[in-house]
Amino acid sequence: MEQGLQNLETLSFYVMLMAYTLCMIFYWVWIGTKKELMGLFATYLTIAALVANTSAILLRMIIAGRPPLSNSYEFLLTFVWGITVVYLFIEYRYKLRSLGAFIMPISVMILMFIIMSMGAEERIAQAIPPALKSQWLTFHVVTATLAYGAFAISFGLGIMYLLKLSKESTGKKSNPQGIISHFPALDIIDELSYKVIGFAFPLLTLCIITGAIWANYAWGTYWSWDPKETWSLITWIIYAAYLHARLMYGWKGKRAAWMTVFGFAAVLFTFFGVNYFLPGLHSYASSQSSMFV
């Protein structure tokens, strides 16, 4: 029974990988050709990828008998899920399909990272140390997934903004068939990016707070300046600075777009950089499970 479920989970993972890769290609083809059919394929493939992603997460949950949020592989799976959920909402709500050409490569790169850096034994469900058996961990990681997913979207919007701006600032008349012509007006991209960060920032705050509550229950210390905590605080400070600069000094446009890029770089470092270069209390979050409690 369990072997069958594991096979199904592996199948879901590869279907998801294929669907994400294909939708990324279709978004690129659509943005280059403007053929509506290509765009529809891209959107439907993204939905299919999300379904496969969800089923991989649910199957892992059934196999492990716990929320699938306890190691790098499981978090990355939910991180990609978070990016896709937020992206599909934005595409549906703001009719912004061109964003997919910048967001889907992030998902594909994360999945490629899983394939290249994690062996099969690291991807199977493993026993978790007692400290990770907490409902607070579930809240902590779910909020991180959605916040990080939204920050990935703001990063994609920032890149779109900078590309469009560099094209427009050259003074050349925009090619009506060109890639940039699919992008919305600069101020719309800028405003949307702000809205996405406004959605994600309280979630990141909640993520840090639930992490502190969990740490207090598990270790009796709500804040220990462990590298992961510290980098999540640095990420929080970068986005707080973005919001202050925007709301008080009217920082918009190019400077704001660069800040979304720096912010997402901090998000990636908080996850990858800290897990692989600066291990601390969150050492269990790396792919090698540890018995630290």
């Binding site: 026993a127 140390p129 007692p130 400290a131 058996k133 907490s134 405003e191 702000y194 809205k195 406004g198 959605f199 920032f201 309280p202 705050t205 909640l206 707070i209 502190a212 509550i213 969990w214 207090n216 229950y217 598990a218 270790w219 009796g220 210390t221 709500y222 804040w223 220990s224 300046w225 462990d226 590298p227 510290t230 980098w231 605080l233 640095i234 400070i237 970068i238 707080a240 600075a241 202050h244 600069a245 925007r246 709301l247 008080m248 000094y249 009217g250 800290v274 600066l278 601390g280 209390l281 409690v293």
Partner: protein, 434 residues
Amino acid sequence: MKEQGDGIVEDIWRFFSSMKLGLALLGLIALVAGVGTVFPQVNLEPEKAKTVAQIWQTLGFTQIYSTSWFRLLLGLLCINLIVCSLQRFQGIYHRTFVLRPPESVSTVPNKVKAKMVGDGEPLQKSVLDVLQRSGFKVTTKLSDKGWSFIAIKRRLGNWGSLISHISFVVLVIGAILGVTMGFKGFFMTGAGTTIPIESINVSKGTVKQDFSVHIYSAEDRFLPNGERDNWYTDMGIIENGKEMIRETISVNHPLTYKGVTFYQSSFANGVSLTVDIKDQKIPVVLQDHGGNYFQAPGTDLYLIVAAIKSDPQKPIIFYQVYKGKGVEPVQTGQLNAGQTIDVQGEYKLTLEGNAGFTGLQVKQDPGVMVVWLGCALLLLGLLLSFYWRTIVVLGVFQSGPGADGELTIGAMAGKVAGGVQQEFDRLIRDIQAK
């Protein structure tokens, strides 16, 4: 002289009320915090921290978060936040509760604005009706030339920024209370022992309580599938000879008594033994891998358990006995459950069975509730700021020569117009539809 003094105070106030200062301090704190993740920190990796070059250790880079200059940065940020909050309080209060309809068209905001023409009285009725139905609190004013109004919706949103800034100060107060008034300690002991709280190893603060902790049992439980379930400690608190509370704790499920919290932190295998010396029976619990020792009274013999084969039914130990300061054991051997041996002709030793050793983190932190209050305020402030944004709509109707006139209506949008524009457009459509 007084004027000069006032000038200095004003300068200091202006310096600390600057948002640029706040942003610069945030940037510095982020930078220093980032540097602290590159250097091994004493509180996280004490052994590694000792290997860092002396110059960095002297400058405090291996305990960066407790250096006085890092605390100074946090203190300056707190002062900045308090001053900024005080300075902005009155403005927010006025923007929320003391709203006055505009006197003229020039005071209607420009960024989000519309004009409409119509008969004064029905138009006023439509505007009031639409705004009130949309949840606005409306204040109107009549004048010779026509009428004006100001309307506010989701007024609590105005306080979001202030609440979230103050919450940081609350968080810092909570942390200071924890550091100055609490303590942090650890003890590891076997089942069946009683430990006075003041005798535990304390790494921070001082223990002022005088109760004792009795460990009934410590268990490393496994699930049927072989995975570790959790570590459990059945413990009681004894005060003035009376058991006040008895509870089983585990990782993520601590016990708090009189502000002191016990966290299950680690576990080690151990065994319970009986020492029969001069017709006196002494119960002893010893930890695996020589974690502790037993010195028989009146002798210089030290007994340790070097290894345990922890069969739940029949534990077997490998013991070693040392004499005085000798580094080589004078007696070694294996002992099965229920078996008795003679130790150097001084006493008899019997292995009774398994006994878990529990490692408990003990903490008193009177600031923790203040920290949670700060967290709640921070979250409330952010939710109000981003999900409950205040909208203020205001307008001036100027009568023309006849009954008709022109209504200039606008919305305060601050630096962000997008969301406000949508709601404003909807209001205008509703008013025009009437």
